[in-house]
C-alpha cells in the first residue's frame, strides 16, 4: 500500500502530509527541547509582542507562547491518537461483525450505531464534564465514543463489498471459519478506508479538544493546550490579538493537515477517484 501511495502522490497528500509531519516533529522535539523551560513564568513583562528572545511573544502570565505551542502539539496529538484509537478498536470489529452477521442482527447493530451518532462528541463531553469535571482524559473518552459510529459505518460498507467477492466465496467453500475470513480477507481489504477515516477523525478530534478546552471543560489550567490558550486569551484579545491568532493558527494548520492528508490518501488509494 505504501508503494501505491508513493506512486499516486497528489498535492493534497504532499501538503497534508507535510503539515502533519511538522506537528509530529514539533511534538517529538518537545520531549528533548523547548524554546524555554515549559509552563514557567520567565519574562519580566507580560504581553510582549513576538521578539528575538520570545519568538511568539509572552502571555498575560509572562510565559513564552512558542513553548506553549510546541507543548500544545503534544496534547493535540495525544488526544487525537487515543480517541481515534479507541474509536477504531471498537468501530472496526463492530463494522465487520455487522457485515458478517445475519441481516437482522447487522441492522440492529447499525441502528444502535445511529443512536450513538446522535450524540455529537462535544455534547457527550459536556455531559461527562458535568458529572466528573473537565479533564483531558474525559475529553478523549467522549470524543472516542462519538467517533465509533463513523468507523463502524465505513468498515461495514467496505466489508459488505469484500464479502460479495469471489475470493471470499472460495475461502468459504474451502472451509475457512468466519474469524479467519474477517481477519485474513476482509480486514486487509478495508484498511485503506479505515486509514482515510482515521485521518479525517483525527482532525475532528483536534477541533473537539480545542473547543472543549476553550469552554473550560477540557484540558485544565497548567497543562499546555491550544484550545486552553484561546480560552486564556479570550479576555485580552482586544489588546493582544497575537495571543488569539497564534494558537488559533496552530489548530487550523493541524486540522488542515489531517483533512488534506485524508483527502490525499483517499485519492491515492481509490483509483476511481484519482482519475478525475
Amino acid at each position: 500500500m505504501m508503494r501505491l501511495v508513493m506512486a499516486r502522490l497528489n498535492p493534497s497528500l504532499i501538503v497534508g502530509g507535510g503539515l502533519v509531519l511538522l506537528v509530529v516533529l514539533l511534538a517529538l522535539v518537545s520531549f528533548v527541547w523547548t524554546p524555554h523551560p515549559p509552563m514557567k513564568v520567565l519574562a519580566t513583562q507580560a504581553y510582549q509582542r513576538p521578539n528575538a528572545e520570545f519568538w511568539l511573544g509572552t502571555d498575560r502570565f509572562r510565559r513564552d507562547v512558542f513553548t506553549q505551542i510546541v507543548l500544545g502539539s503534544r496534547t493535540a496529538l495525544f488526544v487525537g491518537f487515543v480517541s481515534v484509537g479507541v474509536a477504531a478498536l471498537v468501530g472496526v470489529p463492530l463494522g465487520i461483525f455487522a457485515a458478517m452477521s445475519p441481516t437482522w442482527l447487522g441492522h440492529l447493530v447499525m441502528r444502535g450505531n445511529d443512536i450513538v451518532l446522535a450524540f455529537p462528541a462535544l455534547l457527550l463531553a459536556i455531559m461527562f464534564a458535568a458529572l466528573y469535571g473537565g479533564s483531558t482524559q474525559i475529553a478523549m473518552v467522549a470524543i472516542g465514543i462519538a467517533t465509533v459510529p463513523s468507523f463502524a459505518r465505513i468498515t461495514r460498507s467496505g466489508a459488505l463489498g469484500v464479502l460479495s467477492t469471489d475470493f471470499v466465496m472460495a475461502a468459504r467453500a474451502a472451509g475457512r471459519g468466519p474469524f479467519a475470513i474477517a481477519t485474513r480477507h476482509v480486514l486487509p481489504n478495508v484498511v485503506g478506508l479505515i486509514i482515510v477515516q482515521a485521518s479525517v477523525s483525527f482532525a475532528i478530534a483536534i477541533l473537539a479538544e480545542a473547543a472543549l478546552a476553550y469552554l473550560g471543560l477540557g484540558t485544565p489550567t497548567g497543562q499546555p493546550s491550544w484550545g486552553r490558550m484561546l480560552f486564556e486569551a479570550q479576555t485580552t484579545y482586544r489588546s493582544a490579538a497575537y495571543l488569539v491568532l497564534i494558537p488559533g493558527g496552530a489548530i487550523a494548520l493541524a486540522v488542515l493537515g489531517f483533512n488534506l492528508l485524508g483527502d490525499g490518501l483517499r485519492d491515492a488509494l481509490d483509483p476511481k477517484l484519482a482519475r478525475r
Partner: protein, 317 residues
Amino acid sequence: MILQLLRRLGVLIASVAVSTVVVFGFMQVLPGNPARVALGVNASDAAVARMTEQYGLDRPLPVQYFEWIVGMLRLDPGIEYISKAPIGPQIGDRLLVTLWLVAAAMVLAVLIAVPVGTWMAMRHRHIDGVVLSGLSQVGVAVPAFLAGIVLISVFAVRLGWLPSGGWVVPASDPVGFVQRLILPSISLALVQGSVLARYVRSAVLDELHQDYLRTAQAKGLRPVQAVFRHTVRNAAVPVVTVLGLQLAGLLVGAVVIERVFVIPGLGSLLLDSVGQRELLTVQTVVMVLVVAVLVINFIVDALYVVIDPRLRVGGRA
C-alpha cells in the same frame, strides 16, 4: 411510500426511547448520589438528605425515569436542584434563541456554499477553482469559535460597526436583533458553508460529465446556463442529506458560539448548568439536543424517500 415512511417513523421513536434511557442512565447511575454531586463535596449530610427527600432521589430509578419522561412529554421536566426555577419555560425561551441563530447560519451557509461550490466544480482545472478549493479547506479547518473571536475583534472592536455580543428579542428591537445576529451566524456559516461547498463541488463534479449536460450545450445553452439549469437540480439530492448532518452540526456549534457572543441560548443554558451542577437541567437540555438531531436525521431520510423514487421500493440496505 407511506409504509416506508411509517417504518422510519417507528425507527425514530425507538431511537428516541433508547437514547432517553442512555442519557438518564449516564446521569443517574454512574455518579453515586445525585444530591451529593449537585451540592458538592463540602455539603453537609443533612443538606444532602433534605435534597434527596425533596426530589425523591432515593426512589427506584425506573420510577424517577418515568417521572422525567412524563414531565418532558408535558413540557414540564421538573424544577432545578439549586435555583428552584422550573426547567420547562427556560428551555422554551432558550431554544427559540438558538433556533434563530441556527436558521440564520444555515441560510447563510447555503447562500455561500451553492455558488462557491458550483464555481469550484466548473473551474476545477483552473487556477481560481484550485485557489477557492484550497480556501474552502482552510475554512473547514478553522474552529467556529476562533472565527467568532476574530470577527468580534475586527468588526466590533476595531471598526465598531456591530455589537460584540448579547441578545435582544426581535419584537422589541428589530434592528438591534439583526445587528446581534450577524456576527455569530457568520462565524457558524463560514465553517459550515466551507464544508457544504466541498460537498456541492463534488456533487456538481459528478454531474458535469453526464450526457444530458452535453445535450444542453449542444442545443445552444452556454456552460454556466447549462450547469445552473440542469446540474444544480440533480446535484441537490446528495446535498440535501449533507444539509441534515450540517443542521445537527450547527446545533452543537451554536453551543460554543453562544458562549463567544454571550447569547442566552440553549448552549449557554447547558454550559451554565454544568458550571452550577444543575444535573437535571443538563440531562434535559442534552436530551432536547439529541432528539433534535434524531428528528433531523428522520426528516432527511424521509425527504430521501420523497425525492428519489428509486429508494421507495426496497429501501436502503
